[in-house]
Amino acid sequence: MKILSQKAWRTCTLGAAIVVGAAGASYAQTKSLTIGLTADPSHLYPLAGEELSSNIMYYHLYDPLVSRSADLEFGPGLAESWEQVDDTTWRFKLREGVTFHNGNAFTAADVVFTVEKARASIRPDLVASIASATAIDDLTVEIKTPQPYAVLPNDLAELLILDEEYTTATGDQDMDLKPMGTGPYKLQEWIKEERLVLAAHADYWGGAPKIETVTFRPITNPATRTAALLTGEVDVVQDLAVRDVERVKNEAGFEVVTRPSLLNVVLGMDARETSPTIEGPNPMRDQRVREAIIRAIDVDALNKIVMNGLATPSAQYVPESHLGFVEGMDFRQMYPLDIEKSKALLAEAGFPDGFTMTLDATNNRYVNDAQIAQALASMLAQVNITLNLNIMPKSNFWGYIRVPSDNSSFIMSGWDVPSGDAGSMYQALFYSRDKKEGYGQVNRGGYSNPALDDLVDRADATADVAERDAILQEATKLLMAEIPMIPLHYEQDIYGVRDGVTLSPRADKFLQAYEMDVE
């Protein structure tokens, strides 16, 4: 089998070499790349919605003011530089000579327009940290935040700038089909569910892309994606199936590239006095019970048995690259697996015979999510905690568990923070509910701790990044002692790549052809 496909491969490259040789006489060699995605994008208009395939397209077609590198470092994008005028005022100097794909010049008015457009769209969250944006001159924008906010540039990396004239003339519905940005690629052709072809934007401000034509093909079925890679129909596949990893590794001419993702799979615990699925008082109000639960969960076994070794046990709520990460602290070292200790803690807390509750989990959102839930049930059974499983598809899940979470005691979900800042996570998940608009809106367990609220308030009151980091680290230490939520692991992003293609995966999972090259 191997010999045959290698032979076919050689014939292919030979054919390609002849074609290239003939064409090379008059033209420079043009590079092209085909990428197999898990799904067709739903949108090409950044204000119409958000999911991975669409995000990938957005960042090829459009640019944000602040760019986010593959390793979550933030640097100049459409804004060349920025400065803080006072605690709540920022001034962004825009790049000169940038044009949209239609030739329109990029100016401060476009930025102001985008902010206002986003505010009225389905994605007002994109501009939640902006109180107002004003054009000072053609190339200077002043942005005010509602309160001191040290990580405004991180948030701006998600706001993609639209062309005011074109967007107004085109209308929301058509913007999805005829996008127009300043990005490194422009749309050449999109046949739904079949292929989406991007052509290099030669005048791109960051320099012309190395790859001329990029074709994205949606291939939903994982085994078909692998087959398309092996037959040479695509050069790169996203989300290579776990069971195909060994196969592709062993095949000559291909390699497997992995990177831990930002998606932390977490278990949220109820902190209210009574819990919807637990009889009597809620045991999980006691820190010792929460510690007992974390000590009963064998994260390494989950990784080895359920995840095929393709997960990274999480040390804290956010990964190392983020503001608020505390060097050297690790849940697994603080509360290592210890069944006896776990039982003792439960007894101490007054639950020597354990208790019964329900775990709400998805079956089509995270890698092997239903299997993880089953494994958790058998792990917790060892300390006499009976876990009933309530597993549902994601279309039901988000509505079912949402605040005020009147159905849930114990929830498995995922959380990622591509803005590189623990603050947004802590404010949404752990801040007391109903105290402040935009805070605690995802606090499903009703956790409430004035000390934590105070730390988040203080982090959001400083305009200094170092100070914010220090305050958030305090919050991390507090949360790791309190354990309102148990982080399990980060999923691994897996790509299959043919030899000759350079791909260094991004932490945020957004494949970017501008950062890739082919031989």
């Binding site: 076919a8 389905i122 007002p124 969250d125 739904k192 939903t220 087959a227 279309s395 995802v442």
Partner: protein
């Protein structure tokens, strides 16, 4: 005939109305679509804004009323997820599905009818037994498994066919189809064969059963005695009389494949409309699901009508009333 048409039309409208009502009711149990669209950490205000934009802030009866009234004005509603007209989302994916189904049905008929006639005429023959065993496999093997096996054998191992996708297309009467390019045919063979297997097996078994039934009739012996060749007796006298149930099944299968070729489309990443239905169910995208199922109901009604017409051609004794 005219009265028959009117009766059918009224039936059809009734079916479409019931489908729309059932889907609307069903979808109220499948979760709130707004949570599939807003980010997880959206605030109440942001969720309310999204609801307003999608028209989900109205009560269900009001939403249904709006849906029905705009439907009567030719507006089929907008997908929550794609923010595009639901009907155009379906229609632009339809040619791909229809062409694949037509090729699959062609393959099924061309293989199944002659083999079925043969097996029916020689029920004890060794070849007939092989054919019947094969058809049993065709009925029982799951399509996704057959698809994967075909991909691994013919695409990855032998390299004869591409593993997936639709290939080049050309335009015929404004419709994009891959049936006019060699590359398109190259791409359509594997998915069409996969899709055809189950239908092929069913048609084959129906044809055989019909032929065995008919073979015992006196007119068959009489025709043979009259001096007609065996070939003539089998195909002209026998097959025509055995065909009524086969045509019925053919019609139902055709509708079934057009509506629910989902699995084959997913495996071969064929850009058809079946995949849209599944994706829309996952995303609780009600406008697309409603329009899709109404369209499917329409297709079934039309096909059944055509099947009735075909009956009168095959058997002149049947009239439409």
């Amino acid at each position: 005939m005219f009265g028959y048409l009117i009766k059918r039309l009224i039936q059809m409208l009734l079916v479409l109305w019931v489908v729309s009502l059932v889907v609307f009711l069903m979808m109220s149990f499948t979760g709130d679509p707004v949570f599939m669209i807003v980010p997880i950490d959206a605030t109440e205000d942001q969720i309310a804004q999204a609801r307003r934009i999608l028209g989900l802030d109205q009560s269900l009866p009001v939403q249904y009323w709006i849906f029905i009234t705009s439907l009567l004005q030719g507006d089929f509603g907008q997908s929550y997820v794609f923010r595009q007209p639901a009907l155009s989302l379906i229609v632009e994916r339809m040619p791909a599905t229809v062409e694949m189904v037509l090729v699959a049905m062609l393959i099924a008929v061309v293989v199944a009818i002659p083999l079925g006639v043969y097996a029916g005429a020689n029920p004890k023959g060794r070849l007939s037994r092989i054919i019947m065993a094969g058809s049993l496999m065709g009925v029982s093997l799951p399509g996704f498994w057959v698809g994967m096996v075909l991909i691994y054998f013919f695409a990855v191992y032998l390299g004869w066919f591409p593993s997936s996708g639709r290939g080049e297309t050309g335009e015929v009467l404004g419709v994009r189809t891959s049936l006019v390019t060699a590359n398109g045919w190259h791409h359509i063979i594997l998915p069409a064969v996969t899709l055809s297997l189950a239908t092929m097996a069913i048609l084959l078994r129906m044809t055989r059963a019909g032929m065995m039934e008919v073979a015992r009739q006196d007119y068959m012996k009489f025709a043979r005695a009259k001096g007609a060749t065996r070939q003539d007796v089998l195909y002209k006298h026998g097959l025509k009389n055995a065909l009524i149930p086969v045509v019925t099944i053919f019609g139902l299968q055709l509708g079934d494949l057009i509506a629910f070729a989902t699995i084959t489309e997913t495996i071969f990443s064929w850009p058809g409309m079946g995949k849209l239905l599944i994706d829309s169910i996952y995303r609780a995208d009600r406008p697309v699901i409603v329009v899709y199922l109404m369209l499917v109901a329409l297709i079934f009604v039309v096909i059944n009508f055509l099947v009735d017409l075909v009956y009168t051609l095959i058997d002149p004794r049947i009239t439409l009333k």
